[in-house]
């Protein structure tokens, strides 16, 4: 069964996913995402939304990183079931 790819900002709070691809057209932003270690297969979890709904804090490689939905929407992930 082929899993569905969703943009990271659609990942529900509390669930985990694996990064599939970065779709930023702006190479500077893309670099910043890579600097965070967001390469293919990186494990990522949505853990907390800001009071106004944006940005969202994610658990990425041992750190809590907040991303605005604009940036998160450019990261395609595959939700990991279970856990």
């Amino acid at each position: 069964m082929k899993r569905e790819l969703i943009p990271l900002n659609m990942l529900p709070l509390g669930s985990a996913a694996k990064v599939r691809s970065l779709t930023n057209d702006d190479s500077r932003t893309r670099r910043r995402m890579l600097d965070l270690g967001l390469i293919k297969n990186t494990h990522i979890e949505a853990i907390q939304k800001s009071p106004s709904g944006d940005p969202t804090a994610y658990w990425i490689r041992g750190a809590v990183i907040a991303l605005r939905s604009d940036e998160a929407s450019k990261i395609l992930v595959e939700a990991v079931s279970g856990e």
Partner: protein, 694 residues
């Protein structure tokens, strides 16, 4: 051999670099628990055994790919600053991510010592690091440390000492990229080596050239004098290598992805071997705290409550000591007066020195010292805890809607301490447009020079207006309203600037929420009292003393029955009245340009010298003095508003000029808050008067 060694101190943001720097050199780099504290290279010296070391604290970065100012500064120093040793500080609690920078540094230089800091915090989180395995894998010395308690610092000194001695050859881990990329590097490297020889790592330089990193070409030319662009042979090789990559489906994005993939995967692999974590789940305590402090329901109320609590403690706590200090200082004034009478000194000398200089100083000290001595430690505790990035997280959406950068919330917080520091802090914002917005609007948060005045006025004026509610609660609310208004104006003006002279959309931003850390209370007390309180007080006093004399002279030189002060105030009076102020108040703001701290003392001086002399040893006496000069609650409100929104002080403007390198933006930074303040005060004063409330 040189008589000293140069040591670069690199690391990710917020890994305790500044603490290590301070512990080694004894210099007081200001530390705080949020990323991006070091925006320039701070330097300090220390000795170990028979050698001197110059330690250079370079900006904290996640990578050396030069995608921001800090990264370029950091990379250029490691690469071209010719440090004898580069210490990379890594965070033991998330080693894997920190290894990214370690590996990138190892690509540039082998003279590296890795310092795994925060070992104690990691232990508390049940994370163990096998330093031996790490050292074996990286091929350079690895030292474990806990800089806050001083643990491991001697080993670090020793490791740096040994690494700096000549003849030590390390075998740093070499990163192997994918075959195609390696082939391309081999096509270019010999040519690069011919030019740069062994001054810098040719393999790394070749890789960067193939990547098309323009900043490295520029840095090579500007710093090292290597002109690689006009080298025909090299250009040919480069073109060939790029063509080769193209043929193998590596465009620049794909190549970068591949490079990063290799490094990150390697970091992952090394971390898997060296880190033993019993607790696989991420820090549940921090998550619990965050689920309240940044939640939809409680996030903003918690923020306002915390801020309110800080102010309430400051207002209540400062009241009594203020009166004690004032009582004491004015008791001394009487003794001074007796002394001058006994010595038979002329009245003008007594006036100049005692009524002018001493009294102004006494006011500055008694009004400013207690609130600062309470506010600064409290604020530093919040900073140390790691709460400020949460403020940025909570407020980011507002800044996004204002088309401004999310980190502006951080520079705004820095402005609470000192606007000039806030302006320098704006360097953490990469986009020039958003940096200018943050710079121009920074003055809308009151700095410590303005806080005491706001606290004093809200305590003596607004505090007593609501019967049945304690004064301290009412004045805290008044103060809070001023701060919230300041934040609101920051957002509003940012939005207006984004739509007019600084058009544009918000750029991307990434904010790290660091783990909460237990504040070091003792250290905070020492730091905030010595560094901040006494420093600010010293600055205020050094300006207040001559200003006090000048004001006394202006108040006592009379031409045709009126003093110079009266003339000045009289000239400003019609305009000041429109704003709900009076001529003396407006003049005090203008004369307070060198430092906002002296505005209130100038107002008091002017009133005292023009009216009957009052014993000003209590806030009640001050209240009487102000009321006898026509102050109403409207005057108090307008003074608070104008204090919040007027031109930045001299130091801040000078800093803006230095940072922006432009008179135009300095002038705009002067005009924007001033015009805003004039407009707001005018509207408030006129509306209240029209409604017949004032």
């Amino acid at each position: 051999m040189a008589d000293h060694f140069v040591v670069a101190l690199a690391g990710n943001p917020n890994v305790g670099k500044s603490t290590i720097f301070n512990s080694l050199t004894g210099l007081n780099q200001h530390t705080g628990n949020w990323p991006g504290k070091t925006v320039t290279n701070a330097r300090g010296k220390y000795r170990h055994k028979d050698k001197s070391f110059i330690l250079v604290d370079i900006p904290g970065t996640y990578s050396l790919m030069a995608s921001s100012v800090e990264e370029t500064v950091a990379r250029d120093f490691i690469c071209f600053g010719e440090p004898d040793v580069t210490v990379v500080v890594a965070d033991a609690t998330c080693l894997e991510r920190n290894l990214n920078l370690v590996l990138q540094t190892l690509e540039i230089t082998g003279n590296v010592v890795v310092c795994v800091n925060l070992i104690d915090e990691a232990e508390r989180k049940k994370i163990k690091i096998d330093l031996k395995i790490l050292q074996a894998r990286l091929g350079v010395p690895v030292v474990g440390a806990s800089a806050r308690s001083g643990r491991g610092l001697n080993q670090l000194r020793e490791a740096v000492y040994r690494a700096a001695l000549p003849g030590v050859v390390s075998r740093p881990l070499a990163v192997d990229y994918e075959g195609t990329i390696e082939e391309a590097v081999q096509m270019v490297e010999p040519e690069v080596r011919r030019t740069v020889q062994n001054k810098i790592n040719s393999r790394w330089a070749a890789l960067k050239l193939i990547e098309g990193d323009h900043s490295i070409i520029k840095s090579l030319r500007d710093i090292m004098g290597f002109d690689l662009i006009n080298d025909a042979t090299l250009a040919n090789r480069l073109a060939a290598a790029r063509k080769f990559l193209q043929e193998n489906n590596y465009d620049s994005d794909a190549m970068r992805d591949s490079l990063v993939f290799t490094i990150v995967s390697l970091a992952e692999e090394i971390a898997r071997e060296a880190v033993i974590s019993e607790n696989q789940k991420f820090n549940s305590r921090d998550r619990k705290i965050d689920s309240i402090l940044t939640s939809r329901r409680y996030g903003l109320p918690a923020m306002i409550t915390l801020l309110g609590l800080v102010f309430w403690l400051t207002v209540t706590g400062a009241n009594y000591p203020s009166e004690v200090i004032a009582g004491f200082l004015f008791w001394i004034e009487e003794r001074l007066t007796e002394f001058f009478q006994w010595a038979g000194s002329p009245p003008w000398l007594h006036g100049l020195l005692v009524e002018g200089m001493y009294r102004t100083l006494a006011w500055v000290v008694s009004v400013m010292l207690p609130p600062m001595a309470i506010f600064f430690p409290l604020f530093t505790i919040l900073e140390d805890l790691g709460y400020l990035p949460r403020v940025a997280f909570n407020m980011d959406n507002f800044f996004k809607k204002a088309h401004a950068h999310g980190k502006q919330a951080l520079t705004m917080c820095m402005g609470f301490g000192c606007n000039a520091a806030g302006i320098i802090g704006c360097r953490i914002i990469d986009s020039p447009r958003e940096r200018l917005i943050a710079t121009i609007t920074n003055n809308f948060v009151p700095c410590n020079g303005r806080f005491p005045a706001l606290i004093a006025i809200s305590t003596i004026f607004v505090g007593g207006t609501v019967p049945g509610i304690p004064n301290s609660v009412v004045s805290t609310c008044a103060l809070m309203s001023v701060i919230i208004l300041g934040v609101f104006m920051t957002l509003l003006i940012s939005r207006i600037l984004s739509a007019t002279i600084l058009k544009g959309l918000p750029s991307s931003f990434i904010l790290e929420l660091p783990p909460y850390r237990k504040p070091q209370i003792g250290r905070i007390l020492v730091r905030s009292v010595l560094d901040r309180t006494l420093f600010v007080l010293g600055r205020a006093a050094s300006i207040a003393a001559p200003a006090g004399m000048a004001i006394w002279v202006m108040a006592n030189i009379t031409i045709g029955g009126a003093s110079l002060l009266d003339y000045g105030a009289g000239f400003l009076q019609p305009f000041a009245l429109l704003l709900g102020l009076d001529g003396y108040i407006l003049m005090a703001f203008i004369l307070g340009f060198p430092a906002n701290e002296i505005v209130i003392p100038i107002i008091i001086m002017s009133y005292v010298s023009t009216g009957s002399l009052v014993e000003l040893d209590s806030l009640e006496a001050l209240r009487q003095l102000l009321i006898s000069h026509g102050w109403t609650w409207l005057t108090a409100v307008c003074v608070m508003l104008f204090s919040l929104m007027h031109f930045p002080c001299g130091t801040t403007l000078w800093t803006i000029k230095k940072e922006t390198q432009s008179w135009k933006w300095t002038l705009i930074s002067f005009l924007v808050p001033t015009l805003t303040g004039i407009t707001v005060c005018f509207i408030v004063a006129q509306t209240v008067r029209m409604l017949g409330l004032g």
